[in-house]
């Protein structure tokens, strides 16, 4: 963050671009000086002349060389980000907000339940845990996408992550195709089928609002208590500093108090997220 002016972005150079799906692109950018973060935090990315958008950081902080963002094309800023090329500079402000409860997660089993682009913030934590594998217990990753073509980080999900010690990855799609031999069905039902144990386990979920709603119900059915289930909110942030007021819900500002909340905390807030 700029020392005297928190609205002034730092500049980062795009080092690499990879299409994860037809509308999700992975951007690898240089890490601006002094930018240090923890899994779950986000940054405000700028295409100067178009605007700024809140994007969660998908790379782990254990990676000191660069930062990665998985960006879905949904509005004018994300469209412009998709048009950017390697070597171009983009604006970066952050890191904003809180992070996943890393200290609390240490020594515990971890369950990640993601849907669609919602894997992006989880990936930062997942890779952080892999890089410090001995500090965490068993890891389950349950991920669903609309179709096989919409699976983000397919290679990692199918190749590198299942290779990690004491780790299981489960994939599902809402609708398969001829080539798909994996599981077909919605994430909450799949989760109940897999039935991970709530014993000594902390769950983190992120995805479309409707998925999150039913995942919460399934987790509770499996015996997870609300204070052991975390999510990250995708409220429209603008300033990231708790001033512009857009992300205010009840007594909280998502950009200051969040974006990471436990469901115990969310239960205290009006249902406006």
């Amino acid at each position: 963050m700029h020392k005297d002016n928190p609205y002034l972005p730092s500049l980062a150079t795009i080092q690499g671009i990879e299409d994860l799906t037809s509308d999700v692109r992975l951007l690898r950018v240089t890490l601006p000086a002094g930018f240090s973060y923890l899994p779950g935090q986000c940054a405000l990315l700028s295409i100067l002349g178009v605007g700024e958008s809140t994007i969660s950081i998908t790379s782990p902080p254990t990676q000191p060389e660069y930062m990665e963002f998985a960006i879905k094309r949904v509005g004018k800023v994300t469209e412009a980000i998709h048009e950017a090329e390697v070597g171009e500079q983009i604006g970066v402000r952050g890191p904003m907000g809180n992070h996943f409860p890393v200290e609390m997660m240490r020594g515990k089993n971890l369950l990640f339940v993601g849907g669609g682009i919602g894997l992006a913030p989880l990936r930062s934590m997942i890779k952080y845990a892999f890089d410090r594998r001995s500090e965490f217990g068993h890891i389950d990753v349950i991920y669903g996408a609309r179709s096989p073509q919409d699976i983000c980080f397919f290679k990692e999900l199918t190749e590198s992550w299942p290779q990690q010690p004491d780790t299981a990855v489960y994939l599902t799609v809402d609708r398969g195709d001829e080539a798909w031999s994996g599981h077909t069905g919605f994430v909450p039902a799949f989760l109940e089928e897999i039935a991970p144990s709530p014993q000594d386990c902390l769950a983190v979920t992120c995805g479309p609002p409707i998925m999150i709603k039913f995942v919460l119900q399934s987790l509770e059915k499996l015996g997870f208590s609300r204070d052991m289930i975390y999510t990250t909110l995708e409220m429209k942030m603008k300033c990231g500093l708790g001033k512009c007021g857009r992300c205010n819900i009840g007594d909280k500002y998502v950009c200051v108090d969040g974006p990471v909340f436990s469901f115990a905390e969310l239960g205290e807030l009006p249902n406006e997220f």
Partner: protein
Amino acid sequence: MTELWRIKKCDLPAWLNIWREEYELWGARPEGPVMRYGPVADATELVLQVRTRDSAKNMFFPATETMFSFRHDEQGLELNQQLPELKARLLVGLPSCDLQALLVMDNVFGGGGHADPYYSGRRQYTVVVGVACEPGEFFFCQDFGFGPDTPTGADLFLWDDGSNWLAQAFSEAGARLLQAGDWEKVQATVPNRSGPGGWVSADSVARLRERFDDPRWERLGERCLGCGACAYVCPTCHCFDIDDMPHGLEGGERYRRWDTCAFAGFTAAAGHNPRPDQTGRIRQRVMHKLVYGDFRSDRSLCVGCGRCVAACPAGIDIRAIAREAVREKKEVKAGA
């Protein structure tokens, strides 16, 4: 008894004019058919003890301001922050509610670990002279623990004493202003009138918090047309949006502008709007003002100035909403 300075009302403009070399003089004066705060060339133009149509927030947090400019060239991208010119300003005539509001805004923009250089730059060099107010239509300051004579927030405050002002300084800058006049010192009791009140109470705030799902919000939602008049005349509504405006292909500027939770698009993002109807939006404004407040301080985000009540084209009255909240009757009243 307090030691106060007695200033003849007729001497005030000449005294203020002494400071014109050093300060840009600001205060209430007519703009077309409405009273607003703005710069004046001569202190005789100032109108005191009048309720301006909107607040003084425009002076520190303009409705639109450029934050920085940018240029693309072969070397890459260059950003140039455009901080406000640091001008010393003397703002004369803020009533107690606007002083309270200024303290709220100081917390919002100055607090929370991130000072806003645009607001702070303007605020830092402004000396504020408060003036006791003549409470009028829709005021309800007493509900927030102060009245028309409360000087909190002013560098210098003037109480009305017939043909004189009784002045007291509350900061070095205020004391310095007084030294320029050859005023008589008097021992007097500081006036302390009660203001209008009786609408917002600890009880009504607690009830509002409990009644997030009360059907009466729907009745308000169908009346609230979704304009921003209430928020834009409010001295503490501080929500804003940030956007870019390109200048040709090579450069442009990033600016911010006022925004409000009453607008339909305020929280809309990527096809999802967590407040999809006006019921949620008007509730958000009332809740933020009266219930949630600002996380940086205990100050209420409403100061009882009544400007929103006067401005609402639909006749929505935040006072009545608070009062209605403590009524047990389920029946819907027109005002709430």
